[in-house]
Amino acid sequence: MAAEDLQQLRELVEFLKANGIAEFDMERTDLKVRLKFAGLQPSTGVDASSLSNLASAIAAQGAAQVVPVAVPAALPSVQAAAGQASAPPVAAPAGGAAAAEAGPEAGAHIVKSPIVGTFYDAPSPDADPFVKVGDRVSTGQVLCIVEAMKLMNEIESDFSGEVVKVYVKTGQPVEYGQALFAIK
């Protein structure tokens, strides 16, 4: 492998490591980029550190055909892969990896549904909601109802703080582990 190409590959690897990218494909002609960020999946293929080992290993072996990639100055913005296959929707987003995204809920504690059922934000259709964004809540306080099999289950907060986000709408079906509230 030409020294120049190896240098480019090293720069690419550093770039990938710096941005926490665990997997990276690229095809040329039609620019096709696929990225996977590290840490969103319990076990997946290559991690960033092994990429630089790979570069050295290839150089050492003098293995065939590592196509040098020109790293663009700014990579086209790509969606962070969710890391797992999206479960087909049930009128509710795929639950589970309820990582708080950027925004007011960054770093907040997520209250997740402990059961499957229908979410209601108030004790009855004409009543006020239990809580709204901005309210302070304490551990044990009832935040909502999830109805399952005609039983109204009161869902208590497992955290004290301020409600910064409500993820679901009243009447919406929710699954086990689905994010309901963000509390900071």
């Binding site: 076990s43 797992q84 296959a85 479960a87 087909p88 929707p89 049930v90 639950g95 589970g96 059961i115 499957v116 059922g117 229908t118 399952a148 099999m149 079906p173 929710v174 699954e175 086990y176 582990g177 689905q178």
Partner: protein, 454 residues
Amino acid sequence: MFRKVLIANRGEIALRVISACKEMGIRTVAVYSEADRNSLHVKFADEAICIGPPASKDSYLNIPSVISAAEIAGADAIHPGYGLLSENANFAEVCRASNIKFIGPKPEVTRMMGEKSTARQTMKNAKVPILPGSDGILENEDEALAYAEKIRYPVILKAVAGGGGRGMRIVRSKEELPGMFAQASTEAQNAFGNGALYMEKFIERPRHIEFQVLADEHGNVMSLGERECSIQRRHQKLIEEAPSLQVTPKLRERLGKTIERSLRDIGYWNAGTIEFLMDEDGEIYFIEMNTRIQVEHCVTEMVTGVDLVKAQLRIAAGERLRDIVPEVPEIRGHAIECRINAEHPEKFTPSPGKITVFNLPGGNGVRVDTAQYAEGVVPQYYDSMIAKLICHGKDREEAMDKMQRALSQFVVQGIHTSIPLHQAIFADEEFRRGEFDTKFMERFLERQKAKGRD
């Protein structure tokens, strides 16, 4: 026909039911635990709902979660698969109360056939031959001797309160009986606090033969022939075949008719399997009934051409048996199934983990039912079966040749599997001759150990 069916199961059977539904234009809802988020049954269903954490008791066995999922998805019916909630009469009742069709028999029938002594009595009333026994506690030695005369030696004494082999004694002659009776009773008293014993006929070298049935909800029942399931280790089936070399056409017909009559009498619905033991003289005795679809249903499908899962859906939707299976199917050729488990082929220790290579065999008469895939993860929370490999040939010889070829092309890496074990079994003389009984695996493993020593 149902608009939407929820599959209350996981793994290969969930995928099997989802596939049948897809072919019939029925929308499917999968339920999954957090450990199964990336499962194929989740990926290939139209909708999927997470119902709990990894442990089965908190997810797949959690009746409120499953029912609640069916409610929010608006499912018309639930298919319970095998294992899990499939023979849970309470679950079937909750379905009924929630206006969701349970794909299987009525809860009352499930309950009746699930209770060993009621099942025996029911079959006895219907003149199905049952394993002779004392039908109750033995008051004393004299009663034991009297029963043993009727039943004929060898007999086995078992603890009423027990299990795990304790309080059990095999008695081969009347001279032995008094001593054994005292020993068994004392052991049972010490182990379970209850020394009461009952007696059953003991079969030295039994074969496990089971019959597949379908029954509609209008009183029509059909037997679809038998399966031979004697290749078992610790009561877990490893290899199943259809038909059984031991069952003559006459026996198949006679027993088939008896079974049909008995199930009509009890008002059985949907798919079911009746299990028998066959003794060394070819006499056959009822032991229990499974009121659900079974793992090994595939071998019956291969020799009869009947899709049993589709039949289940159609029966539950109210169709008549004569429209689903117009004629009693002919048994064509021979089919064998190997259960591929994620376990060490010699130590039998479980081997969960990530599959790195997964190459499936194919070809004429080769079927693989699996929900695993390359890069898939076998979780440690559930049973270890990851695939079923079924081969169908014009006779047993051809089915075995195909199986050997298919096993050699079934490549799984990243975890241990029972594939090498199956390869060794298919090379074994006793297995190939077909002269086995339920003790086969013990003898086979002894032979393997001896080979290892030489």
